[in-house]
Amino acid sequence: MSSPALQARTRVTRIAQEAVDKARLTVVPRMRTRAPRVPFVTLVSLVLVGGIVGLLLFNTSMQQASFAASNLEEQADTLAAREQTLRMELDELRNPQRVATEAQQMGMVIPSAPVFLDLKTGKTSGVRTPATRENAIQLLPPAPIKPKVLAPDPTIVKVPATTTEVPPTTTDAKQRATDGRQKQRKNRSR
């Protein structure tokens, strides 16, 4: 197995020898091709600057969008709240108690039994019963029972003047002033 390989090697060496003989290498004088650098540098700088500025602008616009978003969110919240408040007001307006109060003020009364009118034949079914003031239902609970006299007269207890003596330590100055004369008299009589 090794012999054919050996043969090959000798053949190759011979061929290489011929090639080397043919192409004798000599030192080529250094040929410096000076490509113009400016366009490249400009391009790179432009890309860099462009990238940075773009990034900056992108970031700024994102920030702005973020501000806008939170403003809009706030606005949406406010509007949603307003809608809910209005809905609540509507519900309170639809409160049967309020509707009934208004209706009764206009003189309407809930009938005690319904009567039906057939629109095709124009006939009524059911017993027609008059709806009178007595049929009106009481919308508010009856007023609390008031006492017979709203402002009762004050209870006055007359105390005989001679039996009690005003103590000397009374702090009420007015009382003392008005009673002064009486007291003096009493003192005298004693």
């Binding site: 973020s66 406010t78 809910q84 049967p96 039994a113």
Partner: protein, 575 residues
């Protein structure tokens, strides 16, 4: 070479310092550093779930949630200008001026947070704070604080319940809290300024809140309102302790109205007496009295042990062992048919008819009518009532049960039992929830799970209805005032003695009731009314009858049920 070595040593030293710091940061207490990093400029906002509405059968809210705000003040900023701020706040938010003034000055030293008002509608709160800021006053802020509003005030309040400061305190609000409450969410993001504007491309998470699911009831708001008003008027007129009324859709068992008087305004539960906050109709037991006779009689007919024209000789008194049973009116020996016994509401006659039953037989029927068991419609604290088991029942007790004594019920139970006769002998379990809902205790309730059970035959129910028509007959019956002009009405009065809950004895007061349905030959609605302990004399027919008539007239008109023009019952009452 030396320089290189020294360089390597230096680098190794620096790197080992870095390594040590790394171990310190990551190994010793990594979480606290991570938290510190996260909290730097982080904004965390709870996203409140909106509480589900409670709706009536037409989708009109009986309870709804709206966005609200709590208005608070930082006294360190507001104390100097307290009077000016307080004046504006009390004007706009209608809060007490002096309380606001105290809050703005701080209720204690060094206070930085004082409530000014809670549950202010969102728009009002933000407008007010914006106005304050425009005037140059600082230190007043707002925060989320949802409002629970009951637009119709006291309508169905006893069923819906009410909310406390932060948690449900009664009724459906509490029973179905899990469904209504929903789950709060949370949003976190990085913020650069005090205005909490998000920094884009920075870490932010949002867990959306899950709003509570609405609860749809079978209540008809307008009808409920009307029922409450009519009932309240009668309770006031007869100076009664309380009253209840139920309107059932005969065919579906849906409760269109369940009224309790006295009631309360769900927006201001604190103004009401505590005992008025629940539903008396469901939680209080009472003896139904003569309305129960229709259950006994229909059972007898179903069992083939009686028929409407059956003749009875009714004596003035009926001695049963050591007890004497009497009737509500004095009479000599009279001859009544079974129809006459119902029309005249004779206790003695009913006892004589019920002699065909043994106690277990009667109790079996009553149990099938739903007595002695909860209706389980989703109302808290419902009573099951009292029905003595048949095998423990003495014959004396059975005699009394046959005409509605010695048996206790709640209002809805009794209404559902009468409804079974209206519905051709099939008892439909009553329901208050449309569709289905699960209580917090895990009980499934609602129209979807309502059961139907045949109690008595269609013929027996029909015959009983015919007899009940006689009750409102102006000549033969005891309750002509329960009639609805133009309609055939079937009903039964009840005047029962009340048991004092303390002594366990009859205390002389009465429960007056009327239960019935219309149109009698094709029933659409069942109405049952009870007035407890009136202080003005009257019976079931004269007090509860007119209430029944008024409610029935209204509901028939409201749902467009035309008169059937059927022939009135011609059953004889005497022979």
């Amino acid at each position: 070479m030396l320089r290189l070595r020294i360089g390597f040593v230096l680098i190794a030293m620096v790197l080992s310092f870095f390594g040590a710091r790394l171990v310190q940061l990551q190994g010793v207490d990594p979480r606290s550093y991570a938290a510190m990093a996260a909290s730097e400029g982080a904004v965390r906002v709870p996203l409140l779930a909106e509480r589900g509405d409670i709706l009536d059968r037409n989708g009109i809210p009986l309870a709804d949630s709206i966005k609200g705000k709590v208005v608070f003040a930082d006294p360190s900023l507001t104390a100097d200008k307290a009077p000016e701020i307080a004046r504006l706040l009390s004007d706009r938010l209608s809060v007490d001026y002096f309380k606001t003034l105290t809050a703005l000055r701080g209720r204690h030293d060094g206070s930085r947070y004082e409530y000014i008002a809670r549950r202010v509608p969102s728009t009002l709160a933000t407008d007010t704070v914006a106005e304050l800021e425009e005037l140059g006053y600082t230190g007043v802020g707002t925060d989320d604080d949802p409002i629970r509003d009951y637009p119709a005030g006291d309508v169905a309040a006893n069923l819906i319940g009410y909310m406390g400061t932060d948690e449900p305190l009664g009724g459906f609000e509490r029973t179905f809290d899990k469904q209504l409450a929903g789950t709060d969410g949370e949003a976190t993001w990085q913020s650069s300024s005090s205005k909490s504007v998000r920094i884009p491309l920075r870490e932010s998470t949002t867990k959306e809140p899950k709003d509570g699911a609405p609860l749809r009831t079978t209540i008809d708001r307008d009808l409920q309102w009307f029922t409450q008003k009519v009932l309240a008027q009668t309770v006031a007129q007869y100076k009664a302790a309380s009253g209840s009324a139920v309107v059932l859709d005969t065919r579906t068992g849906e409760t269109l109205a369940l009224a309790d008087v006295p009631t309360f305004d769900a927006n201001h539960p604190a103004d009401a007496k505590e005992e008025d906050l629940g539903s008396r109709a469901m939680s209080e037991t009472y003896e139904p009295g003569s309305v129960e006779k229709v259950l006994t009689v229909s059972s007898l007919i179903d069992a083939g042990k009686a028929f409407p024209r059956q003749k009875f000789k009714v004596p003035p008194n009926l001695a049963r062992q050591d007890r004497v049973i009497g009737d509500w009116w004095d009479h000599g020996p009279i001859r009544l048919t079974l129809a006459g016994i119902i029309a005249q509401s004779s206790n003695i006659g009913t006892v004589l008819a019920a002699d065909a039953f043994t106690p277990p037989q009667l109790v079996d029927y009553l149990r099938k009518f739903g007595l002695g068991q909860r209706t389980d419609v989703g109302v808290r604290g419902e009573t099951a009532g009292i029905l003595t088991p048949g095998d423990q029942m003495t014959s004396q007790t059975k005699d009394r049960v046959a005409f509605g004594q010695s048996v206790s019920v709640n209002v809805l139970q009794m209404a559902a039992a009468v409804n079974a006769i209206a519905n051709g002998g099939v008892r439909v379990a009553p329901s208050l929830i449309s569709g289905r809902a699960v209580t917090d205790d895990g009980v499934v309730v609602g129209t979807d799970v309502a059961t139907r059970t045949r109690v008595v035959s269609k013929e027996a129910a029909r015959a009983t209805a015919k007899m009940m028509e006689k009750v409102v007959d102006p000549e033969d019956g005891v309750a002509p005032r329960a009639q609805v002009p133009g309609y055939l009405v079937a009903g039964k009065t009840g005047t029962a003695q009340r048991v004092n809950p303390v002594t366990g004895l009859y205390d002389g007061s009465t429960s007056l009731s009327f239960g019935g349905f219309a149109p009698a030959d094709d029933a659409r609605f069942t109405v049952y009314v009870v007035i407890h302990a009136p202080q003005v004399d009257g019976g079931g027919g004269s007090v509860a009858g007119p209430v029944f008539s008024r409610i029935m007239g209204y509901v028939l008109g409201r749902y467009g049920v035309e008169p059937t023009n059927g022939k009135p019952s011609r059953l004889p009452v005497e022979w």
